[in-house]
């Protein structure tokens, strides 16, 4: 066992994938000699040469588009978008080509490619550098969307993403790049499309992914001190969604809160809430609540902490689930009365 940060685990996954499969190539802006702005590709050009790991021009659409072409001709490209918002110039390639090729060619052409994107806030960055763009991708059929929360998962999920016959949007929670854990690398954790229970509990299921898993675990610990046993589910894969694991948990606890950094409106939590409601309706003691970022453009560093879900806000949501007596027509938490609150 040794200690690895998530960034180091990702670096190791790329290294092992490059060594294991000669068709793997890694490219993007400054991923070569510079090693990427988060050092995830550090040392790879030196080890594997410029043919396997190289810099591209500043051209995201070109990067993803050429990866499609490469994948059509037997390569396994792993390309990087430097930050969440820098992936938008490539969006057309992602939704129009990456996601659709297998379907369009009736299965004859698959695209075994990975688009790595550091995403999310929490590092005092600013607009363009703190976006949670997962829903744009998760909403697009044809893409796998995966996001690790631990160094072990970072390694395992990236290896699996590269080996997958379909395109994977691999979202790296940038605020967790430096989070360390004892891991035995190489490691293979649960399969890519499975959610995992990170902490067991009987009173409420807290559902999170990527950057919010650690925050939610912290909240669960704090809730325990208040007498609430929270179960924590780490989704890992946003698309496909692991209904089984989530449903089983919520049926046990009868309550659920979904937590993510992205704007709450039309966010991933909305999908989770809908599915949980559909499949657990008769087990639910309270509506599924969401704790997310506000419906605003990403705020400046100074205000970031208010925008991002915090332990306090998660505890606040748990509070509003705990006591059935509170769920009355007067409660501001009752849907339908929201326009009267605080206007």
């Amino acid at each position: 066992m040794a200690e690895f940060s998530m960034g180091q685990a990702l670096n190791r996954a790329l290294r092992d994938a490059l060594a294991a499969d000669p068709s793997v190539v890694v490219y993007g802006e400054d991923v070569g000699p510079l090693g990427g702005v988060f050092r995830v590709t550090d040392g790879l050009t030196a080890e594997f040469g410029e043919d396997r790991v190289f810099d591209s021009p500043l051209a995201e659409s070109g990067i993803v588009g050429t990866a499609v072409g490469m994948a059509m001709y037997g390569r396994r490209p792993v390309v990087e978008m430097q930050f969440d918002a820098f992936g938008y110039p490539a969006f057309e390639q992602v939704v129009s080509h990456v996601a659709k090729m297998r379907n369009r060619t009736r299965g004859r052409v698959g695209l075994p490619l990975v688009i790595r994107i550091p995403y999310g806030g929490g590092i005092g960055a600013v607009e363009h550098h703190g976006d949670s763009s997962e829903m744009y991708y998760a909403h697009t059929p044809g893409l796998h969307v995966v996001t690790p929360a631990t160094p072990a998962d970072a390694y395992s999920l990236l290896r699996e993403a590269i080996e997958d016959p379909d395109p994977v949007v691999f979202l790296e929670p940038k605020r967790r790049y430096w989070t360390k854990a004892e891991v035995d690398l190489p490691v293979r954790t649960e399969p890519m499309d499975r959610a995992v229970v990170r902490r067991t509990g009987t009173d409420v299921t807290l559902i999170a992914y990527g950057p919010m898993v650690d925050t939610v675990l912290e909240a669960a610990e704090a809730a325990r001190e208040e007498g609430c046993a929270a179960e924590v589910v780490d989704l890992r894969s946003l698309s496909p969604f692991d209904d089984q694991t989530v449903t089983a948990s919520v049926r046990r606890t009868g309550r659920a809160v979904v937590v993510h950094e992205a704007a709450t409106f039309g966010g991933y939590g909305a999908e989770v809430a809908a599915r949980v409601t559909e499949q657990c309706f008769h087990y639910l003691e309270a509506p599924v609540l969401r704790v997310g970022g506000f419906d605003i453009p990403y705020p400046p560093p100074e205000l970031e902490e208010y925008h991002l879900p915090s332990v306090d806000r998660i505890l606040g949501a748990i509070d509003r689930l705990q006591w059935e007596s509170e769920w009355t027509a007067e409660s501001p938490a009752v849907p339908g009365r929201r326009s009267e609150v605080g206007v």
């Binding site: 070569g32 560093p301 205000l303």
Partner: protein, 422 residues
């Protein structure tokens, strides 16, 4: 194969300059009134500018090897400076010097404050770009518009924004140009027509083109200047914007600051045509390259193009070569640069060079130098103090300005977060 650096063995080309087009936006009104019509000293014999309109550029690629930039013959040394100092008003020259020094000291202070965590986000400095900025901003009239990339502090000041509002914005304070919401990369000021720094590479290009379209629509006589870096010429927005600008005859000057690097990637490894001023030819846009270390050369080249864009109603491309004195942003140690490159940048400091020229010409006396240094130091200190003592934006500002009118489902009104209930 991918990273195939080509060595450019031609010397930098110099712009053809037409006389009488200097507009001194940075000088005081009296200075403007008395400023002599500038007579470009770049005679036809030296003016090997690229003016190949309507024909394709010679696409033959320079041969050579090596992974780093060479110094041999690629850049002009200072003694080749095209400007004839004797033809200039000393007062005006000193004002350029002061502006350059102001940007230098401002950026040094910014770097310091960032290192001390007084400034958040990402922060890109204009160190080494001072002559280019002052030259460019001098060429603009007050009514002209400016769009830049994220490396925008010096431009903001050069366009007329107060160092206070720029520094306060860097500090993220509510007295800043964007009330603390824009930060380093998003300076903005309607009054001085600084229409923004932009953090997305290439993001400013279509916008600037659109502003020029608006001008053209109402028959205005303003010009738009759109600044960017060398790496930016490879993103789709570049091609789309230049095409539209040329097709629709829009008064916009695309200015490429070629510091030979996009983050850590050399221009030769990112542009198939690394002589960037030639890249307008695909759109029949005339391109000019100028030595960005030379404030007068930049001013003259830019003023010429600005006035031509104004009168001829068409776009131009200006490439200003420049050295990035430090890393890409304050946090970048720039380890990818060789010792020689660092030394090369240092020895090409535009300010020391201009200082020496002015001293030699007897324009910058020891006394004046001290006086300017003092006044600049004071101005920067004042800006920093102002920023330091300004309030942070209120938490309630989180919910301002997402829309012009209140929306029914605004987060503050949602039950999920009573913390923010009004």
């Amino acid at each position: 194969m991918r990273v195939l650096p080509r060595q450019l063995d031609q010397p930098l080309l110099r712009p053809a300059v037409e006389p009488g087009v200097g507009a001194h936006a940075l000088a005081s009104p009296e200075q403007q009134a008395t400023a002599p019509a500038f007579s470009g000293s770049t005679g036809p014999e030296e003016a090997d500018s690229y003016v190949e309109r309507h024909t394709m550029a010679d696409t033959a690629k320079p041969k050579g090897g090596g992974t780093t930039r060479s110094t041999g013959g690629r850049r002009r040394s200072r003694k080749d400076s095209p400007s004839n100092i004797a033809d200039e008003q000393p007062k005006v020259l000193l004002e350029y010097y002061r502006q350059m020094l102001l940007i230098r000291r401002f950026e040094e202070r910014t770097g310091q404050a960032y290192t001390q965590a007084r400034i958040g986000g990402y922060c890109h400095l204009n160190l080494g770009e001072e002559a280019t900025i002052v030259g460019l901003m001098t060429a603009l009239q007050e009514r002209d518009y400016l769009f830049t990339n994220y490396r925008d502090h010096g431009y903001a000041i050069g366009k007329g924004m107060s160092p206070r509002s720029v520094m306060a914005e860097l500090y993220g304070r509510s007295t800043g140009a964007a009330k603390g919401w824009g930060g380093s990369m998003h300076m903005y000021d309607t009054e001085t027509r600084m229409l923004g720094g932009y953090g997305i590479v290439g993001g400013q290009l279509p916008l600037a083109t659109g502003a020029a379209l608006a001008i053209s629509y109402r028959g205005g006589d303003e010009v738009v200047m759109c600044q960017m870096g060398d790496g930016t010429t490879n993103i789709g927005a570049w091609h789309e914007s230049l095409n539209i600008a040329s097709l629709w005859n829009l008064p916009v000057i695309f200015v490429v600051i070629n510091n030979y690097t996009g983050m850590g990637t050399p221009v030769e490894a990112s542009s198939a045509e690394p002589e960037l001023y030639k890249r307008g030819s695909a759109f029949r846009i005339e391109g000019v390259r100028v030595d960005g270390r030379d404030v007068l050369a930049v001013r003259d080249a830019a003023a010429n193009l600005v006035e031509r864009a104004r009168s001829e109603q068409r776009p131009f491309l200006l490439e200003a070569t420049s050295y990035r004195m430090k890393g890409h942003s304050v946090v970048d140690p720039a380890k990818y640069r060789t010792k020689e490159q660092v030394e090369e940048a240092r020895s090409n400091d535009p300010i020391t060079a201009f200082e020496a020229t002015l001293e030699k010409a007897g324009i910058l006396t020891e006394e004046a130098k001290q006086e300017i240094a003092d006044s600049v130091r004071e101005e920067v200190a004042d800006a920093a103090e102002f920023a330091e003592n300004s309030p942070h934006p209120e938490v309630s500002t989180l919910f301002d300005y997402t829309y012009a009118t209140p929306v029914a489902n605004e987060s503050r009104r949602m039950p999920a977060d009573p913390v923010f209930a009004e």
